[in-house]
Symmetry: C3
Subunit: 242 residues, 3 copies
Amino acid sequence: MSDTYVLVHGAWHTGAEIEATAEHLRAAGHTVHCPTLAGNRPGDDRATVGLTEAVASLVDYVESRDLKQVRLAGHSYGGMVITGAAERLLPRLTRLVYVNAFVPQPGESLNDMVPPHYRALFDQIAAANKQSVMLPFEIWREAFINDADLALAKAAYAKLNPHPYRTFTEASTITQPMAALQIGKSYLNCVLDVALPASLPWHPRLSERLGLYRYVESPGSHEAWFTRPAELARALVDAGRD
Amino acid sequence: MSDTYVLVHGAWHTGAEIEATAEHLRAAGHTVHCPTLAGNRPGDDRATVGLTEAVASLVDYVESRDLKQVRLAGHSYGGMVITGAAERLLPRLTRLVYVNAFVPQPGESLNDMVPPHYRALFDQIAAANKQSVMLPFEIWREAFINDADLALAKAAYAKLNPHPYRTFTEASTITQPMAALQIGKSYLNCVLDVALPASLPWHPRLSERLGLYRYVESPGSHEAWFTRPAELARALVDAGRD
Amino acid sequence: MSDTYVLVHGAWHTGAEIEATAEHLRAAGHTVHCPTLAGNRPGDDRATVGLTEAVASLVDYVESRDLKQVRLAGHSYGGMVITGAAERLLPRLTRLVYVNAFVPQPGESLNDMVPPHYRALFDQIAAANKQSVMLPFEIWREAFINDADLALAKAAYAKLNPHPYRTFTEASTITQPMAALQIGKSYLNCVLDVALPASLPWHPRLSERLGLYRYVESPGSHEAWFTRPAELARALVDAGRD
């Protein structure tokens, strides 16, 4: 069976970092797109792009290619973007897959779901960098890519790009909770992921906002795209299939 | 070492669906019984059978065969039944094993341990079906057998039978909390099981009602009998051995 | 790469029980020390040794051998001891690794972090045994070494030694929370560990006291030193590496 996947990256990433996982999905016979969102492309103005523009860029990507029966997956911040795009793309979608991803309620921003010490840190970094944020390496190494060795942690970090902070502070404009949206939904949880603190976790805190959903696990950290692409691809199939 | 296991099925099931797992246990040298409880047999009156009759049918099964040194395992609703039978069968039992199973306190019904939206759904279905309930396929597929592909999810669903709702609403008549019962106890948790919401979970919410207990995990969903019988059999040995 | 590990045992243990795991680390090229703390050595006076003496014995072990760039790991009670030694040994340390270990706040004792029914049990046993405590076999078998067969559970139990209770009741004398200590920290969680109740867990309840930390998992129970030494050694490398 050949399914169509659109995999939406998280903050600081582009589609390129998703490709290793996408290749495993393609080897299993699937069609996979890894778009890079507005705000994370070379030359994008990190000071002005917000969630609205990122969502619009995803909607445009899917519509301009006339993609249909899409299994739309979002990682981390990408959950904000697939949530924002879901209502508009609904006839083109088969299923939404959240990969340790944010699930906003109407009116919520990403920052509303992260612990205060991360918000304070991001505020400070954005203020000093024209409203773009980077993640300090120490946090990346310990809490995001905790299952990598140091060489991989550094190599992956070198691929990140500054992220437009307005995408974290702008509220989602969805008109109904995701639990009310009539479409298949899955939550894929990487069991070593402590990018959000384990006491304020992805699952079940955010997964249960989906209403009825399918639960899938994968080994690895928040950055399993780098550390466990084969296992992550297998879990994406478990999450994305009918 | 050859041990004697009695494996008690959950709601909507019969002993037949346990057989794949039982065969793995038998291949490891054990004697395994998979009785079908009163209420889930062909011709049983789903409108009238309650927890009392289900418990009595298990007690009768064990006593009439004069089984001894039994490792008595219950899955899901089967936890209500082995709990109800434990006091009466105590001299014949070596250990109780709860497999993502309900552990009632004295006076509690199964429905007292499930979230309100499940109770409301079951009430509605039972009222429309002469007090028997079925699980809607969508819930089965996403929340019960989330680790299956669609073909297996459908094939397994086709084997289910309507379940007598009185077994969910009738309170357990045990006279003491299970923590007080002097017998070995184990809780086997399938890590993908979100048949109860992860925010109102099997473990540790219900496992810790056992007092001192042995904790064992297995991969797979609530329906690992269908999706992971070999792994489940291995975990049952870890849970059931001395 | 050859790193230096010092692995600090838990209550009732000595360094000898850590050796199976240490051998796997040595086979991977690392230098590993498994000291036995004051209070757990033959002839030690269990009635008088407290946390202060245990910490001092670890500090002395590291200083007298002039060990440097140490990855200092503590298991269970050993977390009290590495925490107490960390400030004094700081220039010699590269990272602290807590293996299902206690992380005290300033002024806390081990007993402050365990459930009341364990404290009551320990009080009673210590009062009857000149202030030394042993763990009843039934608790050991079900809640500490739940992944062993009975033969291994018994063989491992036979190696335990009476533990000086003052090490449980004496408060840590650290002057700042561990979150404030500037050094790499990891928390290694064995996923079957219910030696502390799952409702009052090691992780994230105690792990998050470390502030920024690296999260690592391993299969097995609280006593993976006996049941899963190879996997535990691999996880120790994931936790201990830069």
